[in-house]
Amino acid sequence: MAKEISATSEEKEAKKKEMILFLSNTAEREHFLSKNNRKLLSDPLNDNNPITVQVLGICSALAITVQLEPAIVMALAVTAVMAFSNMIVSILRNLIPNRIRIIVQLIIVASLVILVDQVLKAYAYDVSKQLSVFVGLIITNCIIMGRLEAFALGNGVYKSFLDGIGNAAGYGIILIIVAFFRELLGSGKLFGFEVLGHKAATMAESTGLYSFGYENNGLMLLSPMALIIVGILIWVQRARNRKLIEQN
């Protein structure tokens, strides 16, 4: 069938393609925060959360949730990488050769991650030292590749951008919740401030909760506790959202 098309219609087709690349197809010409688009943002926060429902991106959820600050920076870094890689892949989706599409996606993600890493090193040096290898490991974050394959390759630019933000937010919110509990219970601090009082060498010298003999739970600082907190979050989420429970 393709051979029957004359040269002129081929040109037209090419022009139309170009338009599609930079604008969007008809299905997407809706209000920029229509119900569907809002769903793209809100779905990953609850019903389709990358960590608690799809169980993706667990590795970094264990590694950088000892304190709140690196967890938030990590969430922001993932948001930037995910939104823009989704966008770029969506722009190029009709140009990317199918056989090397995974490599292309990896290169796009990797270069965005390197950009984020360089920017952090220049403007947030201490945080970048704290995150150390984990910024580089965003490249291997399964959520990003998953969204590129499942969404950005088949959807318009704006929708892909929203999907990226939504999924990164769903990932980030879990990260922040886990980090909140681990920092609070593990070291009695939030953002490095001693919210539970100051722990001195003896009980008498301590203030706040520590003066009653409260002890920090050192287990919270170890990675396995992040898994257990994620497990509890999944439990809480399914108790509140019954449709997530598997029927069989």
Partner: protein, 247 residues
């Protein structure tokens, strides 16, 4: 029509062209970003170095404020030749220890920082060695007797977070405070990081407690301290001779 475009993007020529163009674009974007952010990053590294040097003598300061205090407390930064004489040509602060260690032993130049705080004089020796995965480095400050450790700071390139990477933590660094590096006969022993909880109050046993799960990094720290300090012996000997002569 859709098939047509899929076929077009599936040809070998198109695939190669796409790959080449993409790599060129991505490469230039990254090169541009790296070059334009380089000055800011270098400034951060420089300030951090000053911050680390100050931390060994007990002055904790944030990165931004480190330069002022560095200029205030570090009275001298000298580069030494391997025979202990002062190398006038080299700028001590910018000497790259990693590069120096690759040169023949006789040609190496080592930096030494001398701090003066409230009348006390401290010698700060930069360290560099090998951890489990990659380079580790640090600074160790000796008191005026060139025997007692005032403080130490360690850092690493790629040690395991939570294990080897813990050498950067204050609680590990504090274990070195007041340890001795010479035995009674004046032989350099250094400080070893050992398993089995040596008595932390015994400051003359040349031992500090290791970190569980970080044996090789700990050994790297021990080696780095004794290895680097021995290169400064000729200089310290000269200093002591001068002192004796004055007395």
């Amino acid at each position: 029509m859709e098939e047509k475009s899929v076929n077009r993007t599936n040809t070998n020529g198109y695939t190669f062209m796409f790959a080449i163009i993409m790599v060129v674009i991505v490469g230039s974007v990254l090169a541009f970003a790296a070059t334009s952010l380089q000055p800011l990053q270098n400034e951060n590294v420089r300030q951090e170095k000053m911050q680390n040097i100050l931390a060994t003598v007990g002055i904790e300061v944030d990165r931004a404020g480190s330069e002022v205090l560095y200029n205030q407390y570090i009275t001298e930064a000298i580069a030494l030749n391997s025979d202990g004489s002062v190398n006038e040509k080299a700028d001590a602060f910018t000497v790259d220890l990693a590069k120096q260690l690759k040169r023949p032993a006789q040609e190496q130049v080592f930096p030494l920082y001398i701090a003066e705080i409230e009348g006390e004089k401290y010698f700060i020796v930069p360290l560099r060695g090998q951890g489990l995965w990659d380079a580790i480095w640090g600074y160790i400050a000796l008191k005026d007797d060139v025997n007692t450790i005032k403080g130490a700071v360690f850092d690493h390139k790629g040690e395991t977070p939570g294990l080897g990477a813990e050498i950067t933590q204050v609680w590990f660094r504090e274990r070195f405070t007041d340890e001795k590096i010479f035995d009674e006969n004046g032989n350099l022993i250094g400080v070893s990081v050992v398993k089995g909880s040596p008595d932390p109050t015994d400051k003359a046993d040349f031992k500090v407690d290791a970190i569980s799960g970080a044996t090789i990094t700990g050994d790297g720290v021990s080696d780095m301290i004794s290895e680097r300090l021995q290169h400064y012996l000729p200089y310290f000997k000269k200093q002591q001779e001068i002192k004796v002569a004055i007395q």
